[in-house]
């Protein structure tokens, strides 16, 4: 997240009162078929941490009976993504005095009914830039637990029914690991360990917390510096590694031990997260850099580096051997994931903070004004095939699960698609 002028933030706030779902735009949506069908979406940017839905069923068509399934109100503020586990949707929010009230809320995916809510008091600092919120990082689930983290570095682990398993106050334990602009790194789970990347200028670490108790299994010092990127799980060779990105580069660590397996030290973005494509990690470094990784220190190799692909705040996504990088202004660039060459560019209506997500042959991009733009990637140079104006400021990355796509603003959650 870059420094943002106050005037820009004020302008952003002004968008929040816009009306919802203009009928004309909705008609356009209804007229176009789209593939939104997949399984769970248990973490930031989906099952593989790359914005790609895990397709499990036949495509569905968004038609007159299958548009906005439901929309509901949320408390306070937040730009974390919803996550979906089975028939439940989980969302975090922050509210009240200095956003010190932290919410974890569970809704029925079927009809948006609130099933339960738990609230916590922040134990760490809650100061954030007006553009963001204390509920900025996205929670994670292993299918049995919901683990939610906030900018205050408070972490709550609950079961799917809202029973508290453990609570940690990393902001209280390590009070200098905070950012006066706010923290935003989302959690990961691997090997029975919750990975919390807590990096700021004054203190920085990554902690491996036991999923069952929340106790530190290990804690690794990290380069000091503001960092809003999220970890990505690398799978291959019968084991998992966690890719941790920072302005210095990328380090891969073993989730169970915290031992560093390999490092890439040619710098990287502290905003746009890495994207996984098979055994290649696509990193926002010197434009974009493709790293082929294995299971040992010797296995890391740089495949290509391209200055033609430059994501902004949004993290890139992939589909069919192509990489898609979206900059803040709205230029969507398609690159060849084999060599980094630019294939085509498409100008969307910006500005953007949310990362794009992919399902089927479509990439879903929602700008900060709440305008959803869906690009058909089967077209030779991509083509916007429909738009949907949600009418509110949206900085949150959408989530796709079970044939539906979810968007959230500060005060609202939409389910669009299969009802």
């Amino acid at each position: 997240m870059p420094h943002v002028a106050t005037s820009v933030c004020a302008a952003l706030k002004s968008f929040r009162s816009r009306s919802l779902l203009s009928s004309g735009v909705l008609s356009l949506l209804l007229a176009v078929g789209a593939t939104v069908h997949g399984g769970d979406w248990r973490q930031f940017r989906g099952p593989y941490g790359n914005g790609v839905a895990d397709e499990v069923g036949p495509p569905i068509v968004i038609n007159s009976t299958n548009g906005v399934a439901w929309k509901i109100s949320l408390p306070g503020e937040g730009l974390s993504s919803p996550i979906i586990v089975g028939d439940r949707v989980f969302v975090t929010a922050s509210s009240g005095l200095n956003q010190q009230r932290l919410h974890v809320i569970c809704f029925s995916a079927a009809d948006g009914t609130k099933l339960w809510e738990r609230q916590f008091w922040a134990t760490g600092r809650t100061m954030v830039h007006p553009k963001t919120a204390v509920a900025a990082p996205t929670p994670v689930s292993d299918g049995e637990h919901i683990v939610a983290i906030f900018s205050s570095n408070d972490i709550a682990c609950l079961d799917l029914d809202g029973n508290l398993i453990w609570f940690r106050g990393l902001g209280r334990d390590y009070p200098n690991a905070s950012n006066s602009l706010g923290m935003a790194s989302s959690l990961e789970i691997a090997g029975g360990v919750v990975i919390a990347q807590v990096e700021s200028e004054s203190d920085a670490f990554v902690a491996g917390l036991d999923l069952k108790t929340g106790v530190n299994r290990w804690r690794l010092e990290r380069p000091h510096g503001a960092n809003w990127t999220s970890p990505v799980v690398l799978r291959g060779g019968g084991r998992e590694l966690i890719a941790l990105q920072s302005s210095k580069g990328v380090a891969a660590v073993e989730p169970v031990t915290g031992k560093v397996a390999w490092e890439f030290t040619n710098s990287a973005s502290s905003v746009s997260s890495s994207t996984l494509m098979g055994d290649v990690l696509l990193v926002a470094s010197q434009g974009m850099t493709a790293l082929k990784f294995g299971t040992g220190a010797e296995a890391l190799s740089q495949v290509w580096q391209s200055g033609q692909l430059r994501p902004g705040t949004p993290s890139p996504t992939v589909l069919g051997g192509k990489l898609f990088a979206l900059n803040d202004g709205g230029i969507l660039t398609c690159g060849d994931a084999a060599n980094g060459a630019r294939v085509w560019q498409l100008r969307l209506k910006g500005p953007f903070s949310a990362s794009p997500v992919v399902s089927g042959a479509f990439i879903y991009c929602v700008n900060e004004k709440g305008l959803v733009q869906v690009v058909d990637l089967s077209k030779p140079e991509g083509e916007v095939v429909f738009e949907l104006d949600l009418g509110e400021t949206i900085l949150s990355t959408p989530s796709i699960a079970n044939g539906a796509i979810y968007f959230r603003s500060d005060g609202r959650l939409w389910k669009i698609g299969k009802s």
Partner: protein, 411 residues
Amino acid sequence: MTGPVVHRLPESGLSMRAMNIKYCVLFLVALAGAATARSATPAKITEPLRAIRAVGPEGQGNAAASAAWKQLAAGNTDTLVPILTAMDGANDYALNWLRAAVDSIASREIRMGSSLPLADLGKFLMDTGRHPRARRLAFELVARIDSATADQLLGGMLNDPSLEIRRDAVQKVIDQASQSLAAGNKAGAGLLFQQALNSARDIQQIEGVAKQLQELGQPVDLQKHFGFLSEWKIIGPFDNTGNRGFENAFPPEQGIDFDAELDGKTGKVRWKDYSTRHKYGMVDMNQPYGKLKEVLAYATTDFYSAEAQSVELRLGGKNSWKVWLNGKLLFARDEYHANAEIDQYLMPAQLQPGRNTILVKVCQNELVKDWTVEWEYQLRITDSLGTPIVSARDAKATAENTTVKNPATNR
């Protein structure tokens, strides 16, 4: 560095001093005879409460607390007040475990059609000796049962020791003042805004009310209202090339000698007086030294207290800094130009009777962007609610009454 907890606006356990008697009496009369012995802790939750209250830093006690939480959350409405009572003296980790249990029980009981114990919860709420956060939770439960009564109670809670309750009560007065203003009653609005200002501790509320009073021709001296320390002695600039000065201990960290001439970054430097008239008490090093880069300076002031007392030093600023109280490092923060606000960092501290010496080190880095010009900080001393405490000497207090609350505010 001893590593004090630095966080925003903790709730205090201080007792309320100015509760509106009328509302208290009316509500307590209504409760009389209705309250039962539900506040007694049922034996079956004694051990779970003990296990949860034992949680600590870095997940200490989490495994036992997780099992205990299941037992606790299985309770019924009779256990709500005992759990709230167990928040007394609990640390911030335990408070969240206990809160989650209350949430779980209350939601389940409401869903099952049970009635929450309004009388017991109300009685607990009115006991200002209880933990402020527990009382706030009790208030929210009361509001779920009877929102009209909860709203009426707020009228007597302007000076509540719970920041969250107080904030809601203040907002109610602000809303009334705005209505008076809209109706053309400027005099009445002014009185209500002043009442809100006296009780408000939320920064946004204070600034909003001050703006309204300004427009009504009743300007507020915000520096005085917040209690920012304005009189300092400063020395600098010292070298902070490569930001290494943050860790380098220059002579003022070894001892303060106002007669000393020290080696600065570009020559000899001496202590000099500095007084800020900034609305928010900013001590701006760019004023005496110019817009320098890769430098640092020190500032010191004395604060007089009649007795040993727990306070908070509250600092705001965009630069790296360190703060010492009576030679002891309270906290060090190495972050540049991210953001700044009033009460950005809270440092719990203990004042000694008589003179207390505060030393601040404030650093400037190498960046030259227009948003990296600031080289400044603001500092005030408050109680845990944010009520400013002024130096006894500044308040011209007598030896018998040397620590004085800001006369512009209530506690």
